[in-house]
Subunit: 238 residues, 2 copies
Amino acid sequence: MAREGIKACVFDVFGTVVDWRGSVTREGEALGRAKGITLDWEQFARDWRALYQPAMEKVRSGQMGFVKLDVLHRMNLDELLQRHGIDGLTEDEIDDFNRAWHRLDPWPDVVEGLTRLKSRHIIATLSNGNVALMVNMAKRAGMPWDTILGAEVARHYKPQPGAYLNAVDYLSLEPQEVLMVAAHNDDLVAATDCGLSTAFVARPNEYGPDQDRDFEAIHDFDYVATDFCDLADQLGCP
Amino acid sequence: MAREGIKACVFDVFGTVVDWRGSVTREGEALGRAKGITLDWEQFARDWRALYQPAMEKVRSGQMGFVKLDVLHRMNLDELLQRHGIDGLTEDEIDDFNRAWHRLDPWPDVVEGLTRLKSRHIIATLSNGNVALMVNMAKRAGMPWDTILGAEVARHYKPQPGAYLNAVDYLSLEPQEVLMVAAHNDDLVAATDCGLSTAFVARPNEYGPDQDRDFEAIHDFDYVATDFCDLADQLGCP
């Protein structure tokens, strides 16, 4: 337990802060209407996300040098478009759809909860998303981050230790002074292994019908909260 | 001229955004009262700042590996304390005084101007100050940065090109879409050489009686503004 000494809260973003599934589905449906493409866009969103970890693994394993998540998202999108035989999109249309990940909507408690947490703590992203993706997402949705940390400034994708320890170093804090907030048990276990404090916030609808894990904390994390406002309550943020 | 396509404004901080001289003088005077040290603290502040470029030059030249500005500030503070024969401070007191640079006050137009610029553009630091210094300064003063960029995430101190080009890359923009805002002609010339757009904002009282330059733009920058609110006017930010 590190309840007294938390100075910064750092956040996983995809799934924890934003509803990627609903948002990418919305963007896909809009594209489908505009271009006359009939697809199960919710399945498309989940398929796109399913290619996320394998793509990052190419970087983590050293098979590829570090590239921004935008680049990995685009590789994966090209693969999915080919899989579905979709070949009527211009380069600009594909690029814009790839930036759907810059336009994800937060869960309903996020902006209020972050604003409260910011009153007493540094709040920052610690996501595998790249800086521009995070900045654009935050500006669109009004997320009041103090700064953007994470994979791109660390040159390491989570759950590699460098991703967590680099954020701690940028903040010039001790690991236990930094609270990693995530909806994913494995992310928090990796943060724990680096000495960070941890908070689990369940997002049981992240994957919709496919969700088969992370309904609850299955390790002994420092905080378990129902949403960001509950976390603000627990941290004493008015 | 790049007036139509500016997507992000990035800012030099020491002197351009904050009054380091007045703020470090205030911190020195408070320390002097608490510890019974009689000194010309305004001269001390200017002497401390005078060691700034030579310290960074050790990193830029490769004589030292990259270290955070907090570390360089501390090296320089230790040198000045020794020069003045001040040996009655504890490690905690010296460390706290070194963090005076985290507690610098903005010029009066800054928070309003940044808030207006943020309504239409990404706003970020592009300072040689480290991430924690910038985050702590911003939280204390209410500066609403979208993110912190600059030397530490670039691993290059300005005016090395890597400092500017790395910020452009993190933002996933073209250089001309990024407007470098500074009170220093040489910073803006270096930014121009990297293809960035440029805005000069004079801070004629930065150095007080020692100031011998940067009273006006002496190159053909894209914008010349009297303060950040004037810059917001010129960029059409309500």
